[in-house]
Symmetry: C2
Subunit: 305 residues, 2 copies
Amino acid sequence: MSRIYDRVALIGLGLIASSMAHAMRRHGLAGEITGHARSMETRAVAREIGLCDRVCDSAAEAASGADLVVLCVPVGAMGQVAAEIAPVLKPGATLSDVGSVKREVIAAVGPHVPQGVHFVPAHPLAGTEHSGPHSGFAELFENRYCLIIPQEGVDRDAVARLEGFWRAMGALTDEMDADHHDLVLAVTSHAPHLIAYTMVGVADDLRRVTDSEVIKYSAAGFRDFTRIAASDPTMWRDVFLHNREATLEILGRFTEELFALQRAIRTGDGDLLFDYFTRTRAIRRGIVEAGQDTDAPDFGRTKRG
Amino acid sequence: MSRIYDRVALIGLGLIASSMAHAMRRHGLAGEITGHARSMETRAVAREIGLCDRVCDSAAEAASGADLVVLCVPVGAMGQVAAEIAPVLKPGATLSDVGSVKREVIAAVGPHVPQGVHFVPAHPLAGTEHSGPHSGFAELFENRYCLIIPQEGVDRDAVARLEGFWRAMGALTDEMDADHHDLVLAVTSHAPHLIAYTMVGVADDLRRVTDSEVIKYSAAGFRDFTRIAASDPTMWRDVFLHNREATLEILGRFTEELFALQRAIRTGDGDLLFDYFTRTRAIRRGIVEAGQDTDAPDFGRTKRG
């Protein structure tokens, strides 16, 4: 691969930004990588591990002169950061983000984007339960989708260049509009996260079952929930507050379904349960066939830890 | 390791039984392994792959003369199978099971156990989303807990021997009473499974989000739910019908919590969400420290598939 942007600025240095830094370096996609994080501690760690070519003390300093600026902060902070860097954005530069919510981020960032700057929102569907500048790794985006949300009247060359950049980091790309993105993500990510957080909270609260039992016996299904529920609290607080409508809609549908299954358990309707569980199996097959997970029979725990 | 039982009979030849067969052979724990499955097709597959030394056409034939008989059928079928094999059980033999529910299984099996036979219920907390005689592998139980539920007045030597057998297959063992087992499992396994099934069902139903979108974009959290929701439908139907009370109690607590979090989203109470998500993170750390999952940063998807 060869250089796609001369200078890339990463604002926010968590899991996604640090993974981007590693991936850009591995594939030689940027001439210089600058970075900024609001916390002094995060900046110190980033400097120590040499995450970027330059870690700057302000977002504006990092963004100044960059050809691509990527906002990698929690979605609730996007608007403010955009306001801070707007005055220094270079004409012809691309401004993007990696937020898990698109409608409200676009509404918050859009008004700050100067004339001549190409605003191309994006969302890489990749993550782990870890966070911070230490947590990134170059392979995070490999074979994962990055959704691109082109705005009306945007420069198509800027969009194509950003898509090429994500593909060069190993991602697949698709375009989508903001409202549909927020609904799809409410289903595939936001509602599942809230549900996992809730179930782990219930387990923690239950006085008759000790925490140590929950931990020792987690392999029976609960373990996967705890992984999801270990994700960054600030990021997820902001996701729920900024994709409120779609998340609440899906949770409403979820509760309705859950009540129907609870009722089947209570009334002993085994056929309803069996049919339901048979149907959900098919979706899993689709995911394995689409290459979005492995079919390995060991629940992902072989000799790695 | 050396032989623990001269002859072991596996009644039911799914994931757990086939993994036991592989583990027993690898560690040389049984002189002869007999097996039976109700379905002719399953028996044919088991014979074809040489899963047991002898695959028998009836449960009684397989159990006859065995030193250890393990019931590996869905929990709803345990009582009937116990009735079928009771007449042929050898005096001094141990009868065990691997059911995910203990109180109702003990109530269904117990009355059939002949004098002189040691009934020692057990439950290995291990599984994958796969099922059938092809799905087993010798490492399934390694570092996973097998819970032993000793009955009042049981022969302690028989219990110790069965625990040694499970440890020889790589498992850790703990003893527990049936009611507590059923409550702990409702938290760590049964409620999480029903919740995962429900969420996958909701995604499948949602007409505005296509199945292919759900599948392509599953990496954002949903993927782990689909793995859980791909588990064997018959097994899980029976689990819910036979651990009804504890499962419904936990689901009731879950719904109550979920409503509180939904309300926080609706009212914009970010502090409540942040505090809740911070608390659930700690449980995850405990699980990783207890060796019940890996901390590898790639969501369990590296180069295996």
